[in-house]
């Protein structure tokens, strides 16, 4: 008998629609897989079997099997609202908070008849690169349980890698889709800022946050982008630019496309296997008739400090609403101020508190100009660097990370942890689309990812190139 959980999302929907497999049958295969593996990997914060099964049964009754995701189980990162489900964003402060509305991406997934299977674990408020900052439990890397799955969308990456679901939704503020995708050996797509609605995504850093899919292959990423991309009247930062049929364009050739290799990447220490993987991807692209050019992003190394000022600044404001008054965790105190401070100090974890404090400082009187404003100007310079680069090339290629996955509890100072994102963060600052695709393994057998960065709103070409280099 065929193992449905081995199929890609695209194949699964196709077979359900052709009648080859049933919706409930599909769902039950995944639930079985989850039962087998979940105890060890712990990717889900919430699974609602009953609601999912009920939905599957409803879909099985339908005569017309419509919708791009018909009958496909989908996992959603827990920082995204799904009506009636808890949404904790991996934080104690949101324990018990029940979503009273659907995020726009969830609405789109439901409209296309996808089934919401559950909510995946993540670093608290998406702040982290290992999913160890979840207030509830760490998720493990399915490839090797001693290792982290990356983060913050570690649960979403791990559940796809573990075949507990064919496709999952994550969010990427500084690499939170691409880094875990690379660590777990799956595809992770961060669309252009403004391409996918953030409505319903619990904000970390509003000017950087983007929702995107984690999937088994590039085709699945294209499928999900078809579902979630586009202008949304609920999100003033979405952009009304034509959405392509991303599945349709996937197969076309990439002959003559110019691919840039960023010179400054080699200023950083990069693990040998990752350099090798990058090189072999470059060779593949040459083989497809691409022209490889060396280009420069002179201010690349300033992306990290710029990001770690801007993101916490916005976060310090975004997370002010968690005051225990209307929802979520509430402590006590003799008077209001004490109640606030107790609620927030007990409700947030260390990394979140650190970032709130850094951000509050960076915006405060006397420091605003030197920190927040300075960082925002540097951000402009970095964006201009990319703009110059894209005058010469159609896409950029670089490693997703400088190393493969690290071990759980491998002592790292916060700053050391921040360095994990050196190759993903610049992309968020510039708002560009990027994708991480698996490119082999290191000698320990841990996955290696290579990252492609496209022009603004040109996900179509980006996905096509990625499709050509995936294994």
């Amino acid at each position: 008998m065929m193992d449905i959980t081995k199929l890609t999302a695209y194949e699964t929907v196709k077979r359900i629609k052709s009648g080859e497999i049933g919706v409930k049958e599909t769902l039950l295969s995944y639930l079985k897989k989850i039962e087998e593996r979940e105890d060890l990997i712990k990717t889900f914060i919430l699974i609602d079997r009953d609601r999912a099964i009920k939905k599957a049964e409803e879909l099985d009754q339908l005569e017309h099997k419509e919708g791009l995701l018909f009958g496909l189980p989908v996992a959603i990162k827990d920082n995204i609202n799904v009506y009636g489900y808890e949404a904790t964003a991996g934080s104690k402060i949101l324990k018990g908070y029940v979503s009273l509305y659907d995020a726009s991406v969830v609405e789109s997934i439901k409209r296309e008849n996808g089934i919401i299977l559950g909510k995946t674990n993540c670093d608290e408020f998406a702040m982290g690169s290992s999913t160890e900052n979840s207030a509830f439990f760490p998720t493990r890397n399915p490839v090797n349980l001693e290792y982290v799955p990356g983060g913050s969308s570690g649960g979403s990456a791990a559940c796809v890698a573990a075949e507990e679901v064919a496709i999952a939704i994550g969010s990427d503020t500084g690499g939170s889709i691409r880094e875990p995708a690379a660590f777990c050996g799956v595809v992770g797509l961060k669309p252009t800022y403004g391409r996918v609605s953030r409505y319903g995504l619990i904000a970390f850093a509003s000017s950087l946050d983007v929702i995107g899919p984690l999937s088994k292959d590039v085709r699945d990423a294209a499928l999900m982008l078809n579902v979630i991309a586009g202008f949304d009247a609920h999100d003033e930062t979405t952009v009304d630019i034509k959405v392509d049929d991303y599945l349709d364009i996937l197969e076309g050739n990439i002959k003559g496309k110019k691919i840039g290799v960023i010179k400054e990447v080699m200023d950083f220490e990069v693990q040998k296997e990752l350099k090798d993987a990058l090189e072999s991807s470059i060779q593949k692209l040459k083989g497809e008739g691409c022209e490889i050019l060396e280009i420069s992003i002179p201010y690349l190394k300033y992306a990290l400090p710029s990001y770690y000022i801007i993101a916490p600044s916005e976060a310090s404001s975004n997370l002010a609403r968690f005051d225990g008054v209307r929802y979520g965790y509430e402590s006590d105190g003799a008077y209001l101020r004490e109640f606030y401070e107790n609620t927030r100090t007990e409700g947030f974890g260390d990394e979140v508190k650190r970032r709130i404090l850094i951000g509050t400082f960076a915006l405060s009187e006397g420091y605003f100009e030197d920190y927040y404003l300075k960082a925002s100007k540097v951000r402009r310079i970095i964006e201009m660097d990319f703009e110059n680069a894209f005058e010469q090339v159609d896409a950029l290629i670089l490693p997703t990370t400088a190393t493969t996955a690290f071990k759980l509890n491998e002592k790292k100072s916060p700053l050391e942890m921040y360095m994990t994102d050196i190759f993903t963060i610049p992309v968020n600052l510039a708002g560009l689309p990027a994708i991480s695709v698996p490119a082999g393994t290191d000698k320990a057998g841990l996955p290696v990812g290579v990252q492609l960065v496209g022009k603004w709103f040109e996900e179509a070409l980006l996905l096509r190139i990625a499709h050509h280099i995936e294994e």
């Binding site: 953030r198 619990i202 930062t237 405060s364």
Partner: protein, 479 residues
């Protein structure tokens, strides 16, 4: 001489159906927490979407306040913790407001004065905290988020105001303008207009210390608070003591201001650009189009009433500042002419009627036809001005036409000379002393005698005829 320097900060609620960043209703006095949604109670993940009407109204008001409208303006977050502020920040305009550099010209005691406006920007209101009992002693406060996200325009003046009367008049004019534009009711009791004042008192050229006063619930409170504060600060200075820079609360009951007892809060709002809202760009065409929709404003109307109709400042202002009054007034004089008489009837008789009945002027059952009839009765000397007032009062209340009333009650003037003469003869007999005085050269007493005749006739005697006949009779007596 101590000179007060006053600046106002006014929050005006823009009269939209829905809130500024979400589609919840702005209905006043609804059941608590029934007009709320993910956006306006700050549920995680919710995002603001700007209401176009807020921009339209904001631009309109900005133009009416003679401001420059910024074609590009931006939104910021003002960060602070307060339980009625659901997101932990207020979305407001900061670096670039919608409107800036305007002015309003006010008239007090025949003096014209320019009050400059620094800026007018749009922002969201917060919810409402209700404290049971003393704010410092009750164990809990209660929060209603219905107001959270109601659109406001904040108007900040330069400290050009120099007296409580000027402050009062500025507010009065501003509210009237808002009502003419239909952008705000300006009702203070419904929170649609709120005003904080800054005031310092100084001798000579040295600027005094600025004190902020909050909790002003009516125009009268603004005036009273300022009057009190001027006295308080003047006294401190005279006694050689210092005025403390602080925020004070106005106490409605005893008319004093009191230092707020709150703990010294860190005031660092950490303003930064609101990443969820790109800059607001409005075209010159849009601004132009809005500008063309602005009607004649109350201060222009007032000036016109004074210049063209010779109304007194008080009457001109009272009619011009209330849109329904001026609409009524102008519709009537367009038909009847005689603006001074009509203004008089409106400000005395009709105002009384409205006060008594609590009705609006639109409901007054005395339109231009009735006015015409009334004025014609006066013109053709059938009734006197005094009788006319009674006729008007009667007509509004009974619904009968003025001529009907004059006929039924026999109010038409006595113009029959024989009737008048016999009345006059009687009066002369009854007032021998005055007659003697008159004959002795004290011609002033004629007024007294005319009055006596008018009284005898029940006010119906035609005053001109009375005069004429009376003089003739007195001359006869002289011979």
């Amino acid at each position: 001489m101590y000179k007060p320097t006053i600046g106002l900060e006014i929050h005006l609620q823009l009269m939209t159906e829905s809130k500024i960043f979400c589609s919840c209703s702005t209905e006043f006095a609804a059941k608590p927490n029934t007009h709320i949604c993910p956006v306006c109670i700050g549920l995680p993940g919710a995002l603001p979407v700007l209401n176009e009407k807020v921009i339209e109204y904001g631009v309109m008001l900005g133009i009416a306040l003679n401001c420059t409208i910024n074609e590009v303006s931006s939104f910021y977050r003002k960060n602070y913790f307060y339980p009625d502020l659901p997101k932990g920040y207020q979305i407001t305009q900061y670096a670039i407001p919608l409107a800036k550099d305007g002015f309003l010209e006010i008239v007090t005691e025949n003096q014209r004065k320019m009050i400059r406006i620094e800026k007018a920007h749009i922002e969201e209101d917060s919810g409402k905290s209700i404290h049971t009992g003393d704010i410092t002693e009750s164990e809990y406060s209660f929060i209603d988020f219905n107001r959270s996200g109601v659109p406001l325009m904040e108007i900040v003046t330069y400290p050009d105001i120099e007296s409580p009367d000027e402050a009062y008049e500025f507010l009065n004019l501003l509210r009237s303008i808002a009502r003419y534009l239909g952008v705000s009711t300006g009702d203070m009791e419904k929170g649609a207009l709120r005003c904080d004042v800054n005031i310092s008192v100084s001798k000579d050229e040295v600027m005094g210390t600025k004190v902020e006063i909050k909790n002003l619930n009516s125009f009268r409170s603004v005036k009273r608070a300022l009057e009190y504060e001027i006295k308080r600060q003047t006294k401190l200075i005279e006694e050689g003591r210092t005025v403390v820079k602080e925020t004070r609360h106005f106490d409605e009951k005893d008319g004093t201001t009191k230092a707020m007892r709150t703990k010294e809060e860190l005031n660092d709002y950490r303003y930064f650009p609101e990443p969820d809202l790109p800059p607001l760009i409005i075209s010159g065409d849009f601004i132009e189009e809005i500008g063309q929709r602005i009607p004649e404003l109350p201060n222009q109307k007032m000036r016109r009433f004074i210049e063209d109709y010779s109304l007194s400042i008080d009457y001109a202002r009272s009619i011009a500042y209330v849109p329904s009054f001026s609409k009524y007034f102008e519709s009537i004089i367009a038909f009847t002419g005689k603006p001074r008489e009509v203004a008089n009837f409106i400000m005395v008789n009709i105002s009384n009627y409205l006060n008594e009945t609590g009705k609006d002027i639109e409901e007054v059952p005395f339109g231009k036809e009735e006015f015409k009839e009334l004025l014609d009765l006066i013109d053709s000397k059938i009734i006197s001005l005094n009788i006319a007032k009674n006729v008007l009062d009667d007509s509004i209340r009974s619904g009968k036409s003025p001529s009907e009333i004059v006929r039924e009650k026999g109010l038409s003037q006595v113009t029959d000379e024989d009737t008048l003469r016999s009345m006059i003869v009687e009066v002369l007999k009854e007032n021998e002393m005055q007659v003697r005085q008159y004959l002795a050269g004290k011609t002033k007493v004629i007024g007294f005698l005319v009055g006596a005749v008018m009284k005898k006739s029940g006010g119906k005697a035609n005053p001109d005829l009375v005069n004429k006949i009376l003089l003739k009779e007195l001359e006869t007596l002289r011979q």
